[in-house]
Symmetry: D2
Subunit: 162 residues, 4 copies
């Protein structure tokens, strides 16, 4: 099985910039994280964009969809900001591709102490390998269907609707 | 869904002891790791033993089996040393419980820079949630059936047989 | 010798807040850092304030001076934001206390991968123990007199004047 | 001021080897640590040997002495295992070079969570810059003269004699 991992930015991939004192995007942490994970199978990394998901526009969600559509691999993990992860998942879900697509991200940057990022990456990779075709969000140690998930912003975690 | 996580020791849970200069077992890293993972679902942690898997005896594998048998949760992750992970998996596999049991561990201790432990934990949790009843080993970003896996000691990674 | 360590905030002590996605102040990292440093001597920790140094007002610099003046310990390390570290150093320098006062901070938060904070803390503690009475800035592996230092903002490092 | 940093191995520089499950020496962590410290001054790194200090022989201590003697820099930090740090310090102390030589090390490897290594490196660099000519041991946030220090093995810390 070959897996495609598409990076779009988000908290997962944020770096502290010592010059501005702000969190910015620089070289993606994903290649290093995948090596550290000691993944033995083939794994294609696609650094598609590096943006805060609050800044993601419709045409960029179409780009993500395009990458999934064109992917030779039927099992895809997308690293994405948490704030609009559900919106991108909805665009992908509506397209109903014959693929297993798992969106994940992080509540704390990979490069910060106490980050959930590396756990989420592992969870998402297994979900992409095992779940039936469909679009999912993997956060908080849970796999959600794209049409039954919301981010509880006050508590900082994902939940099923209703 | 409720998940049970059983710790047995192994590289995953090794600490550096400044007095002896050796790697030892101390308080398990698992409670901290699970909190860091921001798992929202119920998760029962069972610190069963803390040993090097090369030292694991038959009666201790029976203890692991007993814990799985008695577990109220049908989805179980076992943290285990990699060297005899396959042997414990075989004991559990032969018992054919109506549960999904995923053994995982680490090639580098959780507390060391560049450890694969946290990724493996995430991978194993998703596999435990998604895979059908059976006994599995989750290592190197791959899920192996208990009866078709071996540790390639020279390369330091798990592979299917033949 | 007893050492006083006064925390005022700054990049050194910033935490990533998963709810707001911003860097904030929470419980100081200093007590944990001092324990990790395995300091054997007596060490008094004074969490005076927790602010960004760009927000530090005159009355707050007076508070820092007051803490130094009242300190029973003649050797003091102050954790401070880098942007106005020199301004606080100037206030302390003008007071000409019979004490050795070393200001330090970090270009990257202690809790981030690749942070210089822990090195700077060690450097500042040694400088506080060894330098004659006076006010100093310890950054970039160098000890500067308070009246001959500037932060090169473009390069993100401290230098002597002219 | 230019500083020379001589690596000899010791706990500071130990790596976990996933193949053997043992702590070994590999590429020194020092070049990375010095970059992370954002040291602005010139800094010469000399990887002299990479051994456990319990294995250090007389001829190797003579090598360390030779490196110090030949050093163009009068300020030297030596990274050394803690168990026989005092013995090497005694050899260097007896030579009475007109240089400031500071030996340091770590109780926990640099690459492990909760390591004191990076703090000790900062402490030693400041001590090398500030202390008068002589040979010192910098551990536990304290600077010891080479002829008045012992490692309390039971407590895992350095103390003055008597």
């Amino acid at each position: 099985m070959t897996l495609r991992i598409i990076a779009t930015g988000g908290t997962f991939d944020k770096h502290y910039d010592p010059l501005s004192g702000k969190l910015i995007f620089a070289d993606s942490v994903l290649p290093g994280a995948l090596q550290r994970a000691r993944i033995a199978q083939d794994c294609v990394f696609e650094p598609l964009m590096a943006i805060d998901s609050l800044d993601m526009q419709d045409h960029q969600r179409q780009q993500v969809l395009q990458s999934c559509r064109q992917s030779a691999e039927a099992r895809i993990v997308i690293i994405h900001g948490t704030d609009t992860m559900r919106d991108t998942a909805a665009v992908l879900g509506a397209a109903a591709l014959a693929k297993t697509i798992v969106l994940t991200g992080a509540m704390v940057p990979y490069l910060s102490h106490d980050s959930d990022a590396f756990f989420n990456l592992g969870f998402a990779c297994a979900a992409a390998a095992l779940a039936p075709h469909g679009v999912y969000i993997a956060m908080n140690g849970q796999l959600f269907n794209w049409d039954n998930v919301t981010k509880n912003r006050r508590q900082g975690r994902f939940e099923t609707l209703g």
